[in-house]
């Protein structure tokens, strides 16, 4: 189980939280003016990267606060968590992702390799 740092309560087991999907997706302020396609992007389409992912969590069995986190989905390593009101951290401020190839596995920490690649 992951350990997630709630910006308000500190590190807690993941079962206290609920994941809220991708972060920094804003609801169109003018829904009537966007096209069906643009609207569908907001309703149904979310990024699904292997690597650095900005996501939302809510401390549902705790303070009930929503917050954002940055996680490497190829290793599940959480690089940062921050309050909703904070800006999106720039990738330069984060540790580099472990990915060796665009769709590949990190050298260590993923599920697929037990033996050191030659």
């Amino acid at each position: 189980m992951l350990i997630i740092e709630c910006p308000y309560c500190g590190p807690r087991e993941q079962c206290e939280f609920t994941n809220g999907g991708e972060a920094h997706v804003s609801r169109p302020s003018n829904p009537e003016e966007v096209t069906d396609k643009e609207w569908s992007e907001y309703v149904f389409f979310r990024s699904n990267p292997k690597g650095i992912y900005f996501e939302r969590w809510v401390h549902s069995h705790g303070c009930r606060k929503w917050f954002n986190a940055v996680r490497d989905t190829s290793t599940d390593k959480i690089l940062r968590s921050y309050e909703i009101k904070n800006d999106k951290p720039s990738p330069a401020d984060l540790e580099d992702s472990n990915l060796t190839t665009p769709s590949g596995e990190p050298d260590v920490g993923s599920g697929n390799f037990t033996v050191k690649k030659l």
Binding site: W39, S40, K65, W66, D76, D107, G109, G111, V115, K116
Partner: protein, 992 residues
């Protein structure tokens, strides 16, 4: 030549005999014996049959790695697949061998062994295909009947429990390295947990003869003193009989503690504890495992790993055989030979695959001194014997075969660091060319690997290794430690995975996986067929897929494969090691979280009253809700509902609606927030009035409904469906916090703070006036969809005039502490007016007669407000609300979508069933085009016939026409499609 006791051990109480049975025969062992050591003591060699060929199998190892000796424990609910090499005996233990019929001695399944040339790897996939019908009727049942090892256990209710630990350091393994690590960390402030799978500390110091003194003290004394010291420290805790099985992400370790070692587990007592451990650092000091060598008939009972043989002597005080033949490709058998000589037993021969100049001088010296026949540069070609080893064929350097008569062969194929936990942690391995094994390389988590587990097979290097790896923890560096060895300081090994058969026969076999009967021939065949990736080969041959997960042989398989493919072993790679390290009992994983603790039961404050008054409950989410009330014990659901439904419309009834979700919305922007969350417009609504409201998802589909009570623009109370309460609150929270944080709004669940009673029926007003004497309930003072706060028993109650039955009705919100009192008052005053309590089923019927929908029953996440004929609930002139934009997509603006209608049978005797479909023909020969389905249906005593609500394609246009509905018992029958309202279309009763 038989087994002999070695009384010079501390873990067997030779004065304490224990009686147990194996396959119905009584045997005697001693306190501390495992089933395996006790059987060996009794000269029992054959303990089971193999999975596929039903070959006789004996005890191969002395620990958790055992592939063969799996037994059924009759005295413990028939627990199957128990390792005889782990399970300790106790008085009255009953053990049975597995996978044999009719008996271990004469197993009919062994005919498979004769047919074995046919049963090679992948065999099932290429056969059993013809004739066509035979697969299902003949072959498949036969294959399935042959499945499995042990017999199913008997019902067992878990009594195990779970414990959580949060520590700085976990040391897995209380052997030499683990103890030295603990010693060096003892003086730190770190909180340390030591996990030891055995009932005692010491590992190699006790399980082998390799080290005789440490720091100039006898091993046992040294351990005793150190253990005493560690136990005296507050920061160190030692868990014995505890096996670490799973290494999860973020240094989360699962370990299972056996609390009943050597005793009969008593039902109701805690028999095992699952420890869940979070640690900053995990030290893996869990040692190594010995591996086998494949040769002809290397599965015969009487063949045992050399290290295990030594462990039986050293730890269990039993010499399985006084004159075994010993076969090795490495330096490790020196300690065993020395031990046997010390015990006045002499190996019958020593066979080493290495040439004489590579063999350690010390080993050669003792062999020469004791005149032990020596074969160097030699292999075991194979073994023969009917049910156990009788003859051993040794092939020397010149290729000459010598046949030795012997009943026991000890084999050492070298050592592997036990890397299972390390790879579970997602660390990666690298191949060690010197020791011919995989060892931990790069770790992904805070993992430290020590001793032989790190691939360090040199005693003089252990201390330095610990000092280097633990220095960052400010440990106290260890000084060099004096060891007296019966072993060479440095281990050396020569490559040998398999020996050649002298004569190839279709029946001759060299096993690589003893439990799954995988032979080296199977590996070759797999590769020949193209399964040259190790994961393919594993799946094709089932190599290392047994309950031992190939602990003693998986590296050998890689070695063999690398040679066939002419690749390096590191290029072949390993298969992925799956947790758990050893099979983990379901009961321990479940812990206490079953039955009473599976999921909480939520009960209303009136629950006991309901029970006393004949309520039958239904589960709605976690809630127990009265489904219907029996007026007499023989009354069934149908009768009760018919009675209740008539009664409410005629007199009055009350429903315990306390389970409805209730959310309080407060803040200066509450009005704006509510206007965004719900379809309705609350702006012009008067304070202290209420409105039926609809909540959509962003996809425009109906998500929930409820009544919104407006106290003022800054304060609302919303009710939700029983099942939707949590979802609605988190939906609101999500938008309040993430989308519109600028809105000043606070949300709180008040579901448990109030009980809700829904009272309705023509006599309701009379009853209310009697209970609440100061309140005026007439239409003028208390119109429909208004509410007020009143005082009752010095407490505030909120009364809302609303109805879900279509009759005159009120909802009373009252504090739980006085709820029962009020409920009883309702009945005290309502008795003369015919008040009854009714359940959810009657509520469903009554609301359906009125055409009110239930979200989750009449909707399924695919209907819009328009589909439900609820467009009147969409606030006009509202620029935005959640889901609004989705209502104008091409598919949602179609006019022929599925829409809500009412239906009634043409023949009043026909009964419409929920979930059946509206179709256009009376024939139900598939495929039948379906217009939609019946979402709700009831037999109405008020209408005198069955009726239903349905969601059907282009429904609004079809009103007034006829169609058919399918049924579960007879084809289809004709119905009329009507408006979805059946009673009081003009709302006269509602506002009466």
């Amino acid at each position: 030549m038989t087994a002999q006791n070695n009384k010079d051990v501390t873990h067997i109480a030779f004065h304490q005999s224990i009686n147990f049975t194996f396959d119905g025969v009584k045997y005697r062992g001693f306190k501390g014996d495992t089933i395996a050591s006790a059987l060996i003591r009794n000269n029992v060699r054959v303990v089971g049959r193999s999975f596929k060929y039903h070959r006789p199998r004996g005890i191969y190892t002395c620990g958790i790695e055992e592939p063969n000796a799996l037994v059924q424990i009759l005295s413990e609910h028939n627990e199957p697949n128990t390792r005889a090499t782990i399970k300790q005996i106790y008085e009255g233990l009953e053990v049975e061998s597995q996978n044999c019929w009719p008996s271990l001695e004469n197993d009919l399944g062994s005919i498979n062994s004769l047919l074995s040339p046919l049963f090679s790897a992948g065999f099932y996939n290429k056969t059993f295909m013809r004739p066509r019908g035979f697969w299902k009727k003949v072959y498949e049942p036969l294959i399935r009947k042959a499945a499995g090892l042990g017999k199913p256990p008997k019902p067992f209710r878990t009594t195990s429990t779970q414990l959580h630990h949060h520590v700085d350091v976990v040391i897995v393994g209380g052997g030499l390295s683990g103890l030295l690590a603990a010693k060096s960390l003892a003086k730190t402030e770190l909180k340390i947990l030591i996990i030891e799978q055995d009932g005692f500390l010491g590992g190699i110091l006790k399980n082998s003869n390799k080290i005789s003194t440490i720091e100039n003290k006898d091993n046992k004394l040294w351990i005793k003193e150190l253990e005493k010291k560690l136990e005296g420290l507050e920061n160190i805790k030692i868990l014995k009989n505890t096996l670490a099985t799973t290494y999860n992400y973020i240094n989360h370790l699962i370990a299972i503690e056996d609390r009943t070692t050597g005793t009969l587990p008593l039902d109701g007592n805690v028999d095992q504890i699952l420890h869940k451990i979070r640690a900053d650092h995990i030290i893996l000091a869990n040692g190594h495992i010995e591996r086998l060598v494949s040769f002809r008939n290397n599965d015969l009972p009487g063949i045992m790993l050399a290290g295990s043989f030594e462990k039986f002597i050293q730890r269990y005080g039993v010499i399985p055989e006084t004159n075994p033949v010993i076969f090795s490709n490495n330096s490790s058998c020196l300690s065993l030979i020395k031990k046997l000589i010390d015990l006045n037993c002499k190996p019958q021969a020593y066979v080493d695959s290495r040439s004489g100049d590579k063999i350690e001088p010390e080993l050669l010296k003792i062999i020469h001194k004791k005149n032990i026949p020596l074969f160097t540069n030699a292999h075991i070609e194979g073994c023969d014997g009917k049910k156990q080893v009788q003859e051993i064929s040794v092939r020397d350097a010149e290729g000459i075969i010598t046949k030795l008569k012997s009943k026991m062969l000890c084999v050492s194929g070298g050592f592997n660091p036990d890397v299972h936990l390390f790879t579970q942690s997602k660390g990666v391995l690298s191949w060690d060319d010197e020791y011919l094994t995989f060892k931990p390389d790069k770790s992904f988590q805070n993992t430290i690997v020590l001793g032989s587990n790190a691939g360090i097979f040199q005693y003089s290097k252990i201390v330095n290794d610990i000092n280097t790896k633990l220095s960052f923890l400010d440990h106290e560096p260890l000084l060099e430690i004096d060891l007296t060895l019966n072993d060479t300081d440095k281990y050396s090994i020569e490559k040998l995975w398999e020996t050649k058969h002298e004569k190839e026969s279709r029946w001759s076999k060299s096993f690589i996986d003893l439990q799954n009967d995988v032979t080296t021939k199977d590996l070759r065949q797999g590769i020949q067929e193209g399964f040259d990736r190790i994961e393919h080969l594993k799946r094709f041959t089932t190599n290392s897929m047994g309950t031992d997960q190939g602990k003693i042989s998986s590296i050998n398989a890689l070695g063999i494969v690398s040679e066939i493919l002419d690749k390096k072993v590191s290029e072949v790679g390993t298969t992925i090691y799956r947790p758990p390290y050893a099979p983990l009992s379901f009961a321990s994983i479940a812990g206490r979280g079953t039955y009473d603790f599976y999921d909480p039961e939520r009960k209303t404050s009136i629950h006991e009253w309901h029970k006393k008054n004949g309520a039958i409950f239904e589960d709605v989410g976690q809630w127990k809700r009265p489904w219907y009330f029996k007026s007499h014990p023989e009354e069934n659901l149908y009768e009760a509902v018919q009675r209740e439904a008539v009664h409410v419309r005629k007199y009055a009834g009350v429903l315990d609606g306390s389970t409805l979700g209730k959310i309080e919305i407060k803040g200066s922007d509450a009005l704006e927030f509510m206007n965004l969350m719900y379809t309705n417009n609350f702006s012009k609504m008067k304070p202290m009035s209420a409105r039926y409201a609809l909540m959509l998802g962003e996809d425009g589909m109906v998500m929930d409904d409820g009544i919104i009570s407006k106290i003022n623009d800054k304060h609302f109370i919303a009710t939700t469906t029983t099942g939707g309460a949590a979802k609605v609150l988190s939906h609101m929270e999500e938008f309040a916090q993430t989308e519109w944080p600028h809105l000043n709004v606070f949300l709180n669940s008040i579901t448990e703070q109030f009980c809700t009673f829904n009272i309705s029926g023509p006599n309701t007003r009379l009853i209310m006036e009697k209970v609440f004497k100061d309140i005026k309930f007439d239409n003028e003072n208390f119109p429909f969809m208004t509410f007020g706060n009143f005082t009752y028993l010095k407490s505030t109650v909120r009364i809302l005039r609303a109805s879900f039955t279509g009759e005159l009705g009120y909802e009373i919100y009252v504090r739980p502490s006085i709820a029962l009192k009020l409920w009883e008052d309702l009945f005290r005053f309502g008795k003369d007016e015919g008040l009854i309590a009714y359940g959810t089923e009657t509520m469903h019927l009554l609301r359906a007669e009125k055409g009110y929908i239930i979200v989750g029953q009449d909707t399924d996440g695919s209907v819009t407000p328009h589909d439900m004929d609820l467009e009147w609930m969409i606030g006009k002139n509202k620029k935005d609300f959640i889901g609004k934009r989705s209502l104008t997509r091409t598919d949602t603006i179609r006019s022929d979508r599925k829409q809500l209608v009412g239906i009634k049978p043409i023949d009043p005797n026909d009964i419409i069933e929920e979930g059946q479909h509206i179709i256009l023909t009376s024939s139900i020969k598939p495929p039948v085009k379906m217009l939609g389905h019946v979402t709700s249906s009831y037999v109405s005593p008020n209408l005198g016939h069955s009726f239903g609500m349905a969601v059907i394609k282009d429904g609004k246009k079809l009103i007034g026409s006829k169609a058919y509905v399918s049924s579960s018992s007879k084809g289809a029958f004709e119905i009329e499609i009507i408006k979805p309202i059946f009673i009081d279309e003009e709302n006269k009763r509602l506002v009466s």
